[in-house]
């Protein structure tokens, strides 16, 4: 305890501090304008991101309820960075919102939940972290209070999430019943492969599958993404999803090692289904948010391939891809959120000839989409290649072939959007948008990230050096 207690949990402390500052502002003076609050939050988030890079240490606290190491810290840093970008992006939407403080309090408490979930060394902590990261999200999904779609999305999310946590809990209770422990490290030694345990394990996977929207547990995704405010959608699709992916990875690699064959096959099925269904639905979408929702479903299919690799390279490629995915998806969502907030348009048709008046935004969107499609020299290309390479390590070329074919299909629909932006004609294209400073900064960070993450080899090297595998 003592100083360790502060250092090991520094990221959690940072978030809690920000939460309390915001609470005090809420309870205290009324003199804060929205702009001041936005600036303050952005500065605090930036400090949080920067602080995340210093003084990292491995360790265990609270009788294995909380554990941390360099990989976990890196993962948390990725999440912090993503949240920071989202905070920057949300300004044009939140500028005139009365509940701006509440928005950030909810956002940060979900982030805190994710941190605890990633650090959990115990199924109870994992479950609480998961709930903390999903229940307030329901409120966030409903943040466009007067919109019909927003409340429908929130309802769908909260009900599905409750349902999935019910199943997850049932799974956890059965695991507890068959092994007698909730501590992850002890659990690994007591798994015996009885049918009931496999059933419990599958229930557990369905809980993960729900959060990362793997088919067939993904059906809520598109509806919720479409209905929620764009900022929240990007949070859903990037931060919330990545955090669960990180935990999924760790849990499979460390705790469920004895079940390696079982989960390899499960992931194989899930990833094939996820890629195919995600792509098929993405093709027919007109709403860009919905389009990105399905495309992000398809991306998860690729990530699952990386997870099947089950080596150090596998976990490194997943974390690396998530980092790249964060930049690319947030870049795309950033543009969409600006256009949605300033011009009120979200359909692909509205983006025809977007290039004419908004060349910079068009390029950012195009680069982001290229990166999502995995076209070099954007970072997405490296990310996808590494995922496939990690997956190929298992020698399952059927999976790789399906994945590569799906990449071609996905290319088709990403290009469709790019074509609309640059090449289609439109009589009244979207007017020239004046972009406030902070979203501009966010887009700049994303674009730089997309270009540089692939080219600077240090990033991958570092992630590889802290990764785990077996």
């Amino acid at each position: 305890m003592g100083i360790d207690f502060l250092i090991l949990m520094k990221q959690e402390w940072a978030i809690i501090t920000i939460l309390f500052i915001l609470l005090f502002i809420k309870v205290g003076s009324k003199n804060w304008t929205n702009e001041n609050i936005l600036t303050l939050v952005n500065i605090l988030m930036l400090l949080n991101v920067i602080a995340g890079f210093f003084g990292n240490k491995d360790g265990i606290l609270f009788n294995e309820m909380f554990k941390t190491n360099h990989l976990i810290v890196t993962e948390k840093n990725i999440l912090s960075l993503g949240t920071f970008i989202i905070a920057l992006q949300s300004s044009s939407w939140l500028k005139n919102n009365k509940h701006i403080l509440e928005f950030y309090i909810l956002l940060l408490s979900t982030l805190l939940g994710m941190f605890f979930m990633i650090s959990a060394g115990n199924l109870l902590m994992f479950f609480l972290g998961l709930e903390l990261s999903s229940i307030p999200l329901g409120a966030l999904a409903n943040f466009d209070l007067e919109k019909r779609k927003s409340s429908e999305a929130a309802f769908k999310f909260i009900i599905s999430s409750a349902f999935s946590s019910g199943l997850l809990l049932f799974g956890i209770s059965l695991i507890y019943g068959t092994t007698g422990t909730l501590t992850l490290s002890a659990l690994a030694e007591r798994l015996d492969g009885s049918p009931l345990q496999i059933f419990a394990f599958i229930l557990l996977i369905s809980g993960f599958g729900f959060k990362i929207s793997a088919v067939p547990f993904h059906l809520w995704t598109a509806d919720v993404y479409e209905g929620s405010p764009v900022t929240v959608t990007s949070y859903f699709s990037v931060i919330s999803k990545s955090s669960v992916l990180f935990v999924f990875l760790t849990v499979l690699y460390t705790v469920f090692k004895p079940y390696a064959v079982t989960w390899y096959n499960i992931l194989f099925i899930l990833s094939v289904l996820t890629m195919i269904i995600g792509n098929l639905f993405a093709i027919r979408q007109n709403n860009l948010k919905r389009f990105l929702a399905f495309s992000s479903v398809a991306q998860v299919g690729f990530i699952l391939i990386g997870i099947t690799g089950a080596t150090q390279a596998g976990s490194a490629s997943v974390v690396y891809f998530v980092l790249i995915y964060t930049f690319s998806n947030l870049g795309a969502f950033g543009v969409i959120s600006l256009v949605s907030a300033l011009a009120g348009k979200e359909n692909i048709q509205d983006y025809k000839a977007f290039y004419k008046n908004n060349p910079m935004l068009s390029w950012v969107l195009a680069i982001s989409l290229f990166s999502l499609a995995g076209i070099p020299p954007t970072a997405g290309f490296f990310g996808k290649f590494f995922l496939l390479m990690a997956g190929a390590g298992q020698g399952n070329y059927l999976l790789i072939t399906i994945a590569a074919l799906n990449m071609v299909v996905s290319l088709y629909y990403y290009l469709k959007v790019v074509k609309a932006i640059f090449m289609d004609s439109n009589e009244n294209p979207i007017k020239k948008l004046t972009i406030p400073v902070s979203p501009k900064l966010a887009l700049f960070i994303c674009t730089t990230g997309i270009v540089l993450t692939g080219l600077i080899s240090y990033v991958y090297k570092y992630i590889f050096s802290v990764s785990i595998g077996f």
Partner: protein, 643 residues
């Protein structure tokens, strides 16, 4: 070999040009962006020539065998302890030959474009894209690592996408660029999976080590990859076939060739660059790069042979029916690439048996010159007459003398008439084919006859035949910058055949004696001559020719009549049999079946996605049911089935 490190500037200069023109071109180099591009590429070209000089004449050889030289190596991404992705430069005879070709042809295209694209508003963008393309292509040929080659491979795809779609106001150009991109990407997936297979079994991505491990029969890697099978075919064969699919996509081999004719929508100099000398031979280059591995796997080699020879014949037949200049040239490109492919396919590794390899590379070399000459000539014609339909063209020989002569030279070269360059390279190919497979040899000779026929059909239709009226244009035949490349390339086309490629570029690095066998070469040359004669007969003039003959021969009316009769027979044979009987159906198949299949894939995907839309019914309780169903399904599967 640090004294080769300057070579990094060969690809780097175009990249810098791209960045400069891309970022500042529109503001600062509005008019001069062309000169910027030309100058930087000129330096690059000089460096490549210097490299070639140094490599071939000074220190490339050890014990009379050309060595692979790693000029530069930088470990870039360490994927896992064993596998790393390097950025490196590999010098060996083929890569040195390729940088010379690529930079030189690109330079010619840059210069030609100065005139051709004059007045274009987005000139800076155009030159930026050209530079990007040149950079990617140079990077591709210099790659020392299979991942690196894949990366540049994709970059080539993107930059060609940008170039083909340059006139994005034209819907057809947009559609063509998208088609090119998606079809080649479709092929690239094969390449990607192939890379993963080869890399997984050989445990490396580095070309030298990969070839080393997969060709030594005793190595564990080799035993593993040949003993592992999928659907009864060894993983080595699978890997190579998949890599070949990637190559076939870029090189427009049947049935992945459908993008190439459409891709003629781009500016004509771009066609010259992309479709003559650089991007389309990337596939050939890839197979050549991995040739030592290919040569020990006969199944893969057979596939290369048959795909190559079929494409060669098929495209030649279609070319006879086309009326768009650029489309004829496009199909002729497919046909010639087919030659290079099957020549690789019939070759073996090392010594005299490697003649096919050498022939293929030689043909690649000569083809680059005469095909870019043809394309640039076609560009000049289109620029001058504002039409690319041969039915609307004719009699341009007096109006465009430079273009006329250069086009003629190129046609003679592609037809394989000595002493033009095409003759020598085709000679090697035919000889190699004759030694290994008589059937392929037959196809090859037939194809070369057809080639001569359709090329001269094109030539006569443009420059002879009927006289058309052209409004006197102020720029005349073209600016000096347009004529100069034509002249230079014509000279190259004449001389390229005498370059002793066979003593430089061979499968194993050891020089090969080339020998012209007059007896052997007589038949193909005659075949080509027959094709030319037939074309002369049919297309040189519109109607006047038979009459002129009749009057010249005076009383020999019967002879004239007979001539007429033979003419009819010829016409019957060509029009009815070749055109309607073979060419049209082939073109139809090409358009409706092969193309249709690709379209079908697209519509089927769309249909399928419409069919399953019910899954996403919007009703949250249904979602929960599916969720539950998924769990039960997985549980049943893993508790009872896979247990």
């Amino acid at each position: 070999m640090s004294h080769y490190s300057y070579i990094v500037f060969v690809p780097l200069l175009p990249l810098v040009t791209f960045l400069i023109l891309g970022l500042f071109g529109r503001k600062y180099f509005k008019i001069h962006s062309g000169s910027v591009g030309v100058v930087s590429l000129l330096i690059s070209t000089i460096l490549s020539f210097y490299t070639a000089y140094q490599y071939f004449f000074i220190d490339g050889k050890t014990n009379a065998v050309f060595q692979n030289i790693i000029a530069l190596k930088y470990t870039w991404l360490q994927f896992s302890p064993n596998v790393s992705i390097d950025m490196g430069i590999l010098l060996d005879p083929i890569s040195v030959m390729m940088i010379v070709i690529v930079s030189f042809i690109s330079l010619m295209v840059h210069i030609f474009s100065l005139g051709y694209m004059k007045g274009e508003e987005r000139l800076a963008t155009y030159y930026a894209f050209l530079s990007l393309f040149t950079f990617s292509m140079l990077g591709l040929v210099l790659s020392s690592n299979i991942f690196q080659i894949y990366m540049f491979w994709e970059l080539v795809g993107i930059s060609s996408f940008l170039l083909i779609g340059f006139f994005f106001e034209k819907p057809s150009a947009v559609a063509a660029s998208k088609k090119a991109f998606i079809v080649t990407r479709f092929a690239d997936f094969g390449f990607l999976v192939g890379i993963l297979i080869l890399a997984f079994y050989s445990g490396t991505l580095d070309f030298r080590r990969l070839i080393e491990r997969l060709t030594s029969v005793q190595s564990t890697e080799f035993i593993q990859i040949t003993s592992a099978t999928f659907l009864g075919v060894s993983m080595l064969t699978w890997g190579l076939i998949l890599v070949f699919i990637g190559g076939a996509g870029k090189s427009a081999m049947f049935p992945l060739h459908i993008w190439l004719p459409d891709a003629m929508e781009g500016p004509t100099p771009v066609s010259a660059l992309i479709h003559a000398a650089t991007m389309v031979v990337a596939g050939v280059y890839l197979v050549a790069r991995l040739f030592p591995v290919f040569s020990i796997d006969l199944t893969a080699l057979q596939i290369v042979t048959w795909v190559g020879s079929f494409s060669a014949l098929f495209a030649a037949v279609i070319a006879c029916t086309q009326t768009d200049i650029k489309r004829v040239l496009a199909f002729s490109t497919i046909s010639q690439i087919g030659f290079m492919m099957f020549s690789l396919g019939v070759s073996k590794y090392g010594g005299e048996n490697g003649l096919g390899f050498t022939g293929s590379m030689f043909h690649l070399f000569t083809h680059a010159f005469f095909k870019s000459l043809l394309f640039l000539g076609a560009g000049a014609v289109i620029h001058f007459a504002h039409s690319n339909d041969i039915k609307e063209l004719g009699g341009l020989r007096k109006l465009m003398p430079v273009t006329h002569i250069s086009f003629l030279i190129a046609c003679l070269a592609i037809a394989g008439i000595p002493p033009f360059s095409g003759f020598f390279s085709k000679e090697d190919i035919l000889l190699a084919t004759y030694q290994s497979n008589k059937l392929i040899y037959g196809i090859a000779v037939l194809t070369s006859g057809l080639t001569a026929f359709y090329m001269f059909r094109l030539y006569y239709s443009i420059f002879w035949n009927k006289e058309i009226r052209i409004q006197e244009t102020p720029h005349g035949e073209g600016t000096f910058s347009m004529k100069a490349p034509l002249i230079i390339l014509s000279i190259c086309t004449v001389l390229a055949g005498f370059v002793p490629i066979s003593s430089w570029v061979t499968s194993d690095g050891a020089p090969l004696k080339s020998h012209i066998n007059v007896g052997f070469s007589a038949f193909p040359v005659l075949m080509a001559a027959a094709g030319i004669l037939l074309a002369t007969y049919l297309y040189k003039t519109q109607n006047s020719r038979p009459q002129a003959i009749a009057s010249a021969l005076g009383s020999l009316y019967r002879a004239a009549y007979k001539k007429f009769y033979i003419d009819e027979v010829y016409l019957f044979i060509t029009k009815k049999i070749i055109f309607n009987g073979i060419g049209r159906p082939a073109a139809w198949i090409d358009k409706n079946i092969v193309d249709g299949f690709m379209n079908l894939l697209a519509t089927a995907t769309a249909k399928l996605s419409a069919m399953i839309k019910g899954l996403q019914s919007g009703k949250v309780q249904n979602y929960a049911l599916y969720f539950f169903g998924g769990i039960i399904g997985l549980a049943l599967l893993f508790i009872y089935v896979f247990k």
